[in-house]
Subunit: 349 residues, 2 copies
Amino acid sequence: MKPKMTLKKIANELGVSISTVSKALHNNKEISQENRDKIQAFAKLYNYRPNSIALNLKNNKSRTIGIIIPEIVHFFFAKVISGIEKVANSRGYNVVIGVSNESLEKEIINMDLLVDGGIDGFIISLSKETLFHQDYHHLRESISQGIPIVMFDRVVEGLECDKVIIDDKRASKKAVELLLATGCKNILLLTTQDYITIGKLRTEGYLEVLRENNIPIREELIVKVDDKGGMDEYQIILDQEIRKKFDAHPEIDGVFAVNEIYAITVLNVAGMRGLKIPENLSVISFSDGILSLHSRPSLTTVKQNGVQMGELSAKILLDGLETEEDQTVFSTHLIETVLIERDTTKRLV
Amino acid sequence: MKPKMTLKKIANELGVSISTVSKALHNNKEISQENRDKIQAFAKLYNYRPNSIALNLKNNKSRTIGIIIPEIVHFFFAKVISGIEKVANSRGYNVVIGVSNESLEKEIINMDLLVDGGIDGFIISLSKETLFHQDYHHLRESISQGIPIVMFDRVVEGLECDKVIIDDKRASKKAVELLLATGCKNILLLTTQDYITIGKLRTEGYLEVLRENNIPIREELIVKVDDKGGMDEYQIILDQEIRKKFDAHPEIDGVFAVNEIYAITVLNVAGMRGLKIPENLSVISFSDGILSLHSRPSLTTVKQNGVQMGELSAKILLDGLETEEDQTVFSTHLIETVLIERDTTKRLV
DNA sequence: TTGTATGCGTTATCAC
DNA sequence: GTGATAACGCATACAA
């Protein structure tokens, strides 16, 4: 095992002082060209790398940012991470990840762990539990300790931080408008409980389009899926709920689902009862990524640009980190979505 | 913004020395009970947290481990990460992630970045390019600098490190045996190029089972998919290759695919030509996670236990980190897989 | 042109 | 029981 090179060792070897070495390696002109050359050559030979922990201590920053997400085994979040990674690395920052697993408690524990780890700032998407309990003290604390936060996707109002979100309402409106344009009259909405901000916004988009088109809103066509419980259980409940709706309302000719899983489940249920898609039934969903491509028929989706979201979040955080004066004004940044038409909606000619 | 508390500030506020404060906070009995109580109370009140960067500098470790993966937008790797996260966090370690994007160069850059960031050890799955060029100098360097490595999934021989892999060959054999048992006579193998270790092992499993059952090996039923190029292009090539094979060999009655994407593509192609699954055609694939559940018909898969893989890798790395003496003997740990029978294979009665 | 001293926050050793 | 000091690795203001 190679011993680690330090300024001190180089200084000893070469019979000069530590500061001379330090200056030489920074190519400081105070040091004679001769010494600079010699020292630099020596350093390169022994593969000297400055100890970043020591630098961190000096500068009181770590050039590391923390990401807190509810779930890592999830395409959307993985994409966001890859976006963050990309810009962070290109700017010489490291990225640390904490997974809250949708729990407020784990969110807090993870943030503490990262704060103790000397993180410079956070990029975070809140857990369902956090949203549900509306408990944001840990976020306030981080901010008041001078560790800035950028929230994305699952965000809340009233905190001193920037926010990056998809223009959920607008995207949702575009989707429902497409369904109407292709002739759907009775559109089933599959959404989340209202405490999930994005679900709520998407619901609002749906309602607004109906209102704008003077279509009566039928509460019985709105399903707010209860997403408590484990994965398996959840899938079964979802399945049953959808069946029930189709039983009770055979007039349903369109479905707008706020996520892929809901939509795929609809596809399966519809397949079972011999409903032709898109002839008898059109389906659109928001999408994280891959299921919609490989489903049969392939799903028309509102594509969430996770990578872009990550990139922007990181850019905002790092820009803030690298400016001198304290940030006092915060804003909400909207990411545009794209509607990708595939096989579950009729083609408009 | 709350100023950050340090030992020094506490010492000043309370009119004692820094070392007294340090000792008091460690509940050192040298310090009078009275002073201990006072100092601890004060520290708690002002929410003192030791500066871990300073600790890192002193101890020359960071309690942070680095993960290098080829791709984060990938279920299997996401699962591995979640496994690593879980044990690392429970043992008070942070996790930083670098994504090589299947490039040797980015793998090196990322490792350098993390090494400079003061990582204690690596958990890594090699990029395709690294495997292809068989260039492992960066790994050797890390090891020789005293930064241990645990490789998982995509591993190579000849390095001084532990390895965690799925028992690919065995799993592959189980899968092909099931196909034979359900009556398949002409099994198409969809695998990767041989330089991908896991693809190669899975291929070997396939060959071995055929040999054991005295079934002649037909090279024309083995497709080693070329996975160069972007996602879209790749999908198209894959699609065409599979079509061609079905055209040329209508006798194919079983498919063993080394990953989900290959298998789903087979499902789609088969669907197009009206092949009934599993009546006319059985399909099994290795699986990362979610596509197989939601495909129709649902896929019989060899489940790769990514979470378990992550947990074991982390455990091995941390155990090594926390033992005093240098590790000199390294081993390969096999993770058992489970064959999950779903709709693409006939049920055995 | 080079070297010395100081400080970043902590712990450990040793002196009082 | 308490406190001064050195050390971890580095950068830098200042002295020589």
